[in-house]
Amino acid sequence: MDVQAWTYLLVGLTFSLYIGIAIWSRVRSTEGFYVAGRGVPALANGMATGADWMSAASFISMAGLISFMGYTGTIYLMGWTGGYVLLALLLAPYLRKYGKYTTSEFLGDRYYGQSARLVGALCTIFISFTYVAGQMRGVGVVFSRFLEVDVNTGVVIGMAIVLAYATLGGMRGITYTQVAQYCVLILAYLIPAAAISWKITGNPIPQLGFGGTVEEGANAGRFLLETLDALHRELGLPEYTGAWVPGKKSMVDVLAITGALMVGTAGLPHVLIRFYTVPNARAARWSALWALVFIALLYTSAPAVAAFARVNMIQDLNGVAYEQAPPWFRSWEATGLIAFDDKDGDGRIRYSGDPEANELHVDRDIMVLANPEIARLPAWIVALVAAGGLAAALSTAAGLLLVISSAISHDIGKSWLAPDMSERRELTLARRAAGVAVIIAGLFGIYPPGFVAQVVAFAFGLAASSFFPALVLGIFTRSTTREGAVAGMLTGIGFTASYIYWFKYVDPTAGPESWLFGISPEGIGTIGMLLNFAVALTVSRFTAPPPDEVQRLVEEIRLPRAG
């Protein structure tokens, strides 16, 4: 069987599995729809959180990005895992003890009024839409490369699948499909990673092969990372493992970006909501642990995959005559994601750190998808990677759509516009909101706004500078007032959004010398978060303390058991 037949088979099988789970897990109550009836075991929730969290960006793009960034790729590796320590220690058990359905609802109760809740709901909708657009695009790219359908057809198929299980099963359907999707995506990531590691270093465990020696070729017996650094030096690129070398990000920027991604992770509504689905606070703690264990399996393999891909790519292409380029080069060239421009006219591919001399352009997004082909792995593994990419994108999209739907039906509809709405009507509204959100997300996938790639900075920056401080202060202080929290959130968001807007759209060519403290827009959420904390604490000192019942609420959520 060829790659395409295998892909049809595996994608068809996994999609039928997801639809089957959706039908099995239909729900009839709002508690089922919003929080899966709170009956999800910690281990299953850990897997679901892993799939919810690991998106098309983690699965498809991250290793490729690291492969081009070397050491600096650390910002994603630590930034997207370190946040789980904050989640487990500072938020998950307390939000679960509080209960109810959404994060904004906690803000509304803790900060006694609609203002905090509404700010929260609007942030949730904005953050989640920016995030979901990228997922739909990822679905389209996988379909177009592996099934050779049009990108738009791919997006429509993806929409139909998500629509089915998100509207039928709500959180329950999403949770159990995410468990299945985690299994698909982790196998799809680890099997090729192990195969490539074995091929290059003779050790099938990528985390160890990464630090091992190259098996064959001109560099046999030499450490892989040493080889990579040497290859980079030859090509005039900054050393792969080098940290503060010219051409890479500065230390202060790496600190700020890592911080913003960590804190942003801990403030993302679709991640926070997962901890509402377990039976109690203890299970919330345990599921944070399981989630990170499952995420770490991929995240510790990704930098190894990045290094293997880098070595393979340079050795396969640099100095090779275009006529003799390997077959994978041809198939990706057709998609326009890899290109050769024979500047010196010698018919050979030249890869160089000097933009004037460099003749090879490789889109970062293809490294993971092309890796099995580059390493000449069998067709079924290539197909498995396609199914894994789809699982990663669909699972994250579904989680995002659910928080959008609950923000609309529960935080805005039920609590603000129509408080006397019956449960049945609220459930219908939630389903419709999810349906409309899927369609909008699909349109974003088909007509990607030019800013999609850049808005990820927005999503993390805003989550870091809005939710995280308000939630932490709400749990760890009794004295933070409504006025303090709202002022803090508005300052944090206002500052972060204007900074990102300025340096991404108004003055995008400005370099580090014009940035505040040398911090790029990607990292500015860290400063926004600090501002939020400072403003919230200051304003709280000068406003009337929270009412007694709010202080009692704070005492109560700190204890895992009632009373």
């Binding site: 630590m78 370190g82 990464f210 630090g211 091992g212 503060w244 264990v293 770490a296 930098p303 009373g563």
Partner: protein, 89 residues
């Protein structure tokens, strides 16, 4: 023990203080491993090798993630014990 649970007043303040202590210790370690070993001191650490890894690079791309898992594991087990000791589980 079980029979006393109903009448026993929960020492909420003591429980919370113990919780904050655990958190402070673990968050300090979290900061030290990630921002410290992985970023601030990466270059001096890179002079040492761990197999084929420069040590600072290993902490940045591997070690810190393992450390995060271990830190949460310690927290979860420690808190389970604390819950039992204060009778809040």
């Amino acid at each position: 023990m079980e029979g006393h649970e109903e009448v026993q007043e929960v020492d909420a303040r003591g429980y919370w203080r113990a919780n904050l202590r655990i958190m402070a210790v673990l968050l300090t370690l979290w900061f030290f491993v990630s921002f410290g070993l992985g970023i601030l001191w990466v270059e001096p650490l890179n002079r040492f090798k761990l197999g084929g890894f420069p040590l600072g690079f290993w902490f940045a791309q591997q070690g810190s993630i393992y450390a995060f898992v271990v830190l949460i594991a310690i927290y979860v087990v420690w808190m389970d014990r604390l819950d039992r000791r204060y009778g809040v589980d």
